[in-house]
C-alpha cells in the first residue's frame, strides 16, 4: 500500500499536492496564469445553534 494511503491520505489529496507543485515548477510567465487556477472561491463558515461561529479563515 502506498505510504500516503497508510498515513491516511487519499488520491484526491495526493493529486492536489502534485498539481500544486507542478504549477510552481512552470516558467515564471506561465506560473502567474496557473496560480490563478488555485484560487478557492469558497469560504467555509461553521454554524452552531443558528448562529455563525467566528468566521473561519478561507
Amino acid at each position: 500500500m502506498s505510504f500516503w494511503r497508510q498515513a491516511g491520505l487519499n488520491y484526491i489529496q495526493y493529486s492536489a499536492i502534485s498539481a500544486k507543485l507542478t504549477r510552481r515548477a512552470l516558467k515564471p510567465a506561465l506560473r502567474v496564469e496557473a496560480l490563478k487556477r488555485e484560487a478557492v472561491n469558497a469560504k467555509p463558515t461553521m454554524w452552531k445553534d443558528g448562529k455563525a461561529v467566528a468566521a473561519q479563515k478561507a
Partner: protein, 160 residues
C-alpha cells in the same frame, strides 16, 4: 467434425455481429482525448501511440490495447502523432481509460508541455520538500512532504 462445427459457430451469430459493430478497433488507429480541467490538449485526435506513467508502471498504449483503467503518477506523457512527431507533457496526476473501441481518455489534474517547466524552480521545490520532511511532526505532514519530494523528483527528471 466437432471442430468444424465450433469453428462455424465462431463466425456466425453474436460473434459476427460483434465483429461488424466493432468498426473502430481495426488495430490501425486510436482516438485520444487528453485534457486537464483548465484546457484540452487533444480532443478525439487519432494518434499512433501514447506512453503514460501510471501507478502500475509506465506503459505504452497502441491501437487495440486491452481495455484498462489506470491512475496516473507524476511523470511524462509522450504522444506519438500520426505525422511522426512526438509531443511530451508533464502530468501531475489523473486517470487513463482505454476502451474496447480503442478510444483513450487521459484526464489529468495538471498537464503542461515539458518545455514550459523550469528546472531551477523544480530543484528549488525539491529542496523545499526535503526541509519540509525534516520539520514534519505528524504522519500526515510526513506523507505530504514525501509526496512533494516524489513530485519534485519527477519534475526534475522531466526537465532533463
Amino acid at each position: 467434425m466437432a471442430l468444424t462445427r465450433s469453428a462455424l459457430r465462431l463466425f456466425s451469430g453474436r460473434f459476427a455481429q460483434a465483429c461488424q459493430v466493432r468498426g473502430y478497433a481495426d488495430g490501425s488507429s486510436m482516438s485520444l482525448t487528453f485534457a486537464a480541467p483548465s484546457h484540452v490538449l487533444y480532443n478525439n485526435i487519432s494518434v499512433k501511440q501514447v506512453d503514460v506513467p501510471s501507478f502500475s508502471g509506465s506503459f505504452g498504449i497502441l491501437p487495440a490495447h486491452v481495455p484498462t483503467l489506470a491512475v496516473l503518477k507524476p511523470g511524462v506523457v509522450t504522444v506519438f502523432e500520426n505525422d511522426g512527431s512526438t509531443k511530451k507533457f508533464f502530468v501531475s496526476s489523473g486517470t487513463v481509460t482505454i476502451n474496447e473501441d480503442s478510444t483513450v481518455q487521459l484526464l489529468a489534474e495538471e498537464a503542461v508541455p515539458v518545455d514550459t517547466l523550469d528546472i531551477s524552480a523544480a530543484k528549488e521545490l525539491l529542496a523545499q520538500s526535503q526541509s519540509q520532511l525534516a520539520s514534519a511532526s505528524t504522519d500526515v505532514a510526513k506523507a505530504e512532504a514525501e509526496i512533494s519530494i516524489e513530485v519534485s523528483e519527477a519534475l526534475i527528471k522531466a526537465c532533463e
